[in-house]
């Protein structure tokens, strides 16, 4: 019965077949070890708790005050006894500490060949960027059986990336990089939470981790890059909006200059002359925008530095076109980047 209670609850078995009573399903290589540390501490706690409560209950009943009964004389201190219950906990906590530390060192030691994903947190959403350039926001697609390392930073306030099934968590801090690694050990879909309070949307700042077998994963990744093929040519600007994720740090949509000129400005100059830093002028058109993305250093816009990374090789032809269409038809979006009603 007790065992049942602590390992898996029959009550909840139907709801969540793979969950334990305490811990969610084990889906990463470290979860087993962490769960066993957790259970060890829990059992130690149960032992002491039961010991204390049983003694307390027993004394409560046995030495209950009855008429005429006086408290029996018993020593008011006993140093050996007191030292005993000092030293035993000391030993126990040292063991616990040690196990916790080794488990933690595992959690922080990234295997060298880890698959790297860049993570950017923003109020209130995540952007995951794969090495191939594929970007996702609602899901995090990863392979099973391959170590994955997340390099994370935040655009605004603190966030924290938490995947209960993997037993990993790390705050995402603006102005610096933090990392996290794990190796999924079971395919499936798992929750990803934001666990550092970040304001209004904190409770909904989640995503789903999707773990696939290696070959399936490659396919998914392809798909992530290919999604754009499925969008009809005349609505490519919508796809461009999605790709804009990668430009958002430097280009705004509301006209405010950032590291680079706002796309709103570029849009408004469409078909007109643009002054460059070296004094030349150039007409803002499809070609110019494309060139700007692939060879940013060629035409430095006046008032800005040569800071834009080249996206050559990272964007395919159709994606490029989508971005161009997006900038060209920016009047179909509002300043926050939402599609206006009539274009939905």
């Amino acid at each position: 019965m007790l065992m049942n209670l602590f390992c898996s609850s029959p009550l909840l078995a139907a709801a969540a077949p793979r969950r334990g009573f305490w811990m969610p399903e084990q889906a990463s290589t470290v979860s087993g070890e962490i769960d066993s540390i957790f259970m060890l501490i829990t059992w130690i706690s149960v032992f002491f708790f039961v010991l204390i409560v049983v003694l307390m209950g027993y004394f409560m009943v046995k030495y209950r005050r009855v008429e005429g009964h006086k408290s029996a004389a018993s020593p008011s201190h006993n140093t050996p006894l007191e030292l005993t219950w000092t030293i035993i906990p000391v030993i126990i906590v040292i063991v616990i500490f040690y196990m916790g530390m080794t488990g933690y060192i595992n959690l922080r030691s990234v295997p060298v060949d880890a698959y790297e994903i860049d993570v950017t947190a923003q109020k209130w959403g995540w952007t995951f960027q794969h090495p191939s350039g594929a970007i996702e926001t609602e899901t995090l697609t990863i392979p099973k059986g391959r170590p994955v390392r997340l390099m994370m930073t935040s655009q605004d306030v603190l966030h924290s990336l938490f995947i209960p099934a993997f037993r990993v968590k790390q705050d995402v801090v603006p102005g610096r990089y933090t990392y996290l690694w794990f190796e999924a050990s079971a395919t499936g879909r798992y929750d990803l939470f934001c666990t550092e309070y970040c304001g209004t949307g904190h409770a909904t700042m989640g995503a789903v981790v999707e773990v696939y077998e290696e070959d399936e994963f490659e396919e998914k990744l392809e798909e992530l890059l290919r999604w754009i093929e499925d969008i009809p040519e005349e609505r490519l600007f919508v796809a461009g909006k999605r790709l804009y994720n990668r430009c958002v740090q430097c280009h705004s949509l509301d006209g405010a200059p950032g590291i680079g000129p706002s796309f709103r400005e570029t849009h408004e100059l469409w078909g007109q002359e643009r002054r460059l830093a070296d004094g030349r002028t150039v007409t803002v058109d499809e070609n110019y925008v494309k060139e700007s993305i692939i060879y940013p250093a060629q035409d430095i816009t006046e008032g800005y530095g040569n800071l834009m990374p080249s996206f050559r090789g990272q964007l395919r032809e159709r994606e490029l076109r989508a971005l161009v269409q997006f900038i060209r038809h920016l009047d179909r979006f509002d300043d926050e980047g939402n599609l206006l009603e009539e274009w939905q």
Partner: protein
């Protein structure tokens, strides 16, 4: 020596002067203590009602009662009120103020004017807190983490008033602590040596050390934060080159020791309650006394355990995890000593004793789950989930606050001169105990299953997750209603006793510390004559007096003064 056992014939501190002004500007530590008690209970009521709103919101996953912004304000206010207005002043400033000088055998605390000033600061702090509500609300969480709190686009407008309020409340707490340290050092009457002090005083003393040494750091932290938010200077704000993790060091350097400000006096109360209501000498006096000091000191070394996932370096994580465990040892010592005190005692299951037993039960759970959190590998999973919420409610609400309620029952006859209904007292305690565990135990599972804290809703996730969370949240909500019922009942019979209660004897429980030697309620100057001090845990000299309905000195035993000690 007539005052030792008979009813007061003349005035007491309650009626010796009259009029509201005689209270607001009183210098009498007992009146100040009572004013603190009322204020703290009022704040507790407000904070508790906010807690009930939290629970109602979380009844269903889509949580339709409040918007996310409203919910964020509610839990922030709940946490901030409970921490800064309730639990930190509760035992030291309210009960401590009342009993400390009497227990010590002094006429007052060392600096009565400063004491009153502390209380006035508390009131001002509370009012400024209200200002935060009208200036746009407060939604940062009680931890005020940067850059959220310093970014005027993120956090609501009430941050600076709230920081000011916490700053003022901090100084209120500092002055109380200073006052107590000086009182204990300089106002012990002849015979009251350090090791004759009741353990409650040791606990208050250890608490005062923390109050004096840790709270100023909170002061400067809040000041920096306010300047940061008002002028954008960039010590903590990364958008100006600052370091948000440094802020967390600053915050927890105060706030971890602060949790021991909450629990140490509670432990002191429990030492008194267990011993007095078991009518047995406390076991291991010195171990308990020194463990209080040890907790106070070690408590300063572990703040980083709140930052295991914050981006703190791995090296520091390991160091802090290691030291964290050192605080659990003195706590363990105390728990075992309390048990040993009960052994072969003669235990009266009075309401205060029931609270003390609840304390041991609940504190064991709360403290032991602290081990899960102090362990690095598991805290990574548990941090910022409901497991932490459950942990700290077990230690703050279930331990510190229940100890305070227990202590309040224990000294209620002394404070008000009236006995409350023992029957309803036990029922109330039972309801609170059951409701409490029903509220917070499910939150452990909720947390270890991954439910993050500070979530206004939880419907956005995988269906089976949501279903599981919902189940536990509902248990928790039901529990909180039971607990609320228990507290309302308690408030009811206590109020009733003030007006209709039986007159209390000087010593209803059979305590030997000095406060039981003066009348109930005590006279203005506490003692007509300087009391004589003996072993305050030697109960063999007292006996039940039927006429008195309280304990009196045994006829056949000489008093310490008479036998020539002292």
């Amino acid at each position: 020596m007539s005052t030792l056992s008979t009813h007061p014939s003349g005035t007491n501190y309650l009626n010796h002067t009259r009029g509201i002004m005689s209270w607001i500007f009183t210098l009498d530590h007992k009146r100040i203590g009572m004013m603190y008690l009322c204020s703290v209970l009022l704040s507790f009521f407000v904070g508790g009602m906010l807690a009930v709103l939290i629970r109602l919101q979380l009844w269903s996953p889509e949580a339709s009662l409040f918007t996310q912004d409203q919910y964020n304000q509610i839990f922030t206010l709940h946490g901030a009120i409970m921490v800064f207005l309730v639990i930190i002043p509760s035992i030291p400033a309210a009960l401590g103020n009342f009993v400390l000088p009497i227990m010590l055998g002094a006429k007052d605390v060392a600096f009565p004017r400063l004491n009153l000033f502390s209380y006035h600061l508390w009131v001002v702090g509370a009012l400024v807190f209200l200002l935060a509500l009208v200036t746009g609300g407060l939604d940062t969480g009680w931890t005020f983490y940067t850059p959220y709190s310093t970014d005027t686009d993120s956090a609501m407008g009430g941050v600076i008033p709230a920081l000011t309020a916490a700053f003022i409340l901090g100084f209120s707490s500092i002055f109380t602590g200073m006052n107590f340290i000086v009182t204990i050092h300089r106002l012990r009457p002849p015979g009251m040596t350090w090791f004759r002090m009741p353990l409650f005083l040791w606990a208050i003393y250890a608490t005062a050390i923390i109050q004096v040494l840790a709270t100023p750091v909170l002061g400067i932290t809040l000041m920096l934060l306010a300047v940061e938010r008002a002028f954008g200077i960039g010590i903590f704000d990364p958008s100006l080159g600052g370091d948000p993790v440094l802020y967390q060091h600053f915050f927890w350097f105060y706030s971890h020791p602060a949790v021991y400000i909450m629990i140490l006096p509670a432990m002191g109360i429990i030492s008194e309650l267990i011993s007095i209501h078991s009518h047995k000498h406390i076991f291991g006096y010195k171990f308990i006394a020194f463990s209080s000091i040890a907790i106070a000191i070690f408590g300063f070394l572990v703040w980083g355990h709140h930052m295991f996932t914050s981006g703190q370096s791995s090296l520091m994580n390991v160091i802090f995890s290691f030291i964290t465990f050192s605080v659990s040892i003195p706590s363990a010592i105390k728990v075992f000593n309390w048990l040993a005190t009960m052994y072969k005692g003669s235990i009266s299951l009075n309401t205060p004793m029931l609270y003390a037993l609840s304390f041991i039960f609940i504190f064991s759970i709360g403290g032991l789950t602290g081990l899960h959190l102090g362990t690095l590998a598991t805290d990574i999973h548990l941090h910022d989930t409901y497991f932490v919420v459950a942990h700290f409610h077990y230690v703050m609400m279930g331990s510190a606050l229940l100890a305070m309620i227990g202590g309040m029952h224990h000294w209620w006859p002394k404070m008000t001169g009236k006995m409350y209904s023992e029957f309803w007292g036990r029922i109330g305690c039972g309801l609170v105990f059951l409701g409490f565990n029903l509220t917070f135990f499910p939150q452990f599972m909720l947390g270890s299953q991954g439910m993050p804290r500070r979530y206004a809703q939880y419907d956005d996730y995988l269906p089976e997750t949501v279903q599981l969370f919902e189940f536990y949240h509902q248990l928790s909500t039901i529990g909180s209603l039971v607990m609320a019922a228990g507290f309302f009942l308690t408030a009811g019979y206590l109020l009733h006793s003030i007006f209709f209660g039986v007159r209390a004897p000087a010593n209803p429980w059979g305590g030997r510390s000095l406060e039981w030697q003066c009348a109930s309620p005590p006279p203005h100057d506490n003692f007509a004559e300087t009391p004589t001090v003996g072993d305050c845990y030697d109960f063999s000299v007292l006996e039940w007096d039927e006429k008195e309905q309280g304990y009196t000195w045994r006829e056949d035993v000489p008093r310490p003064g008479e036998e020539g000690t002292g």
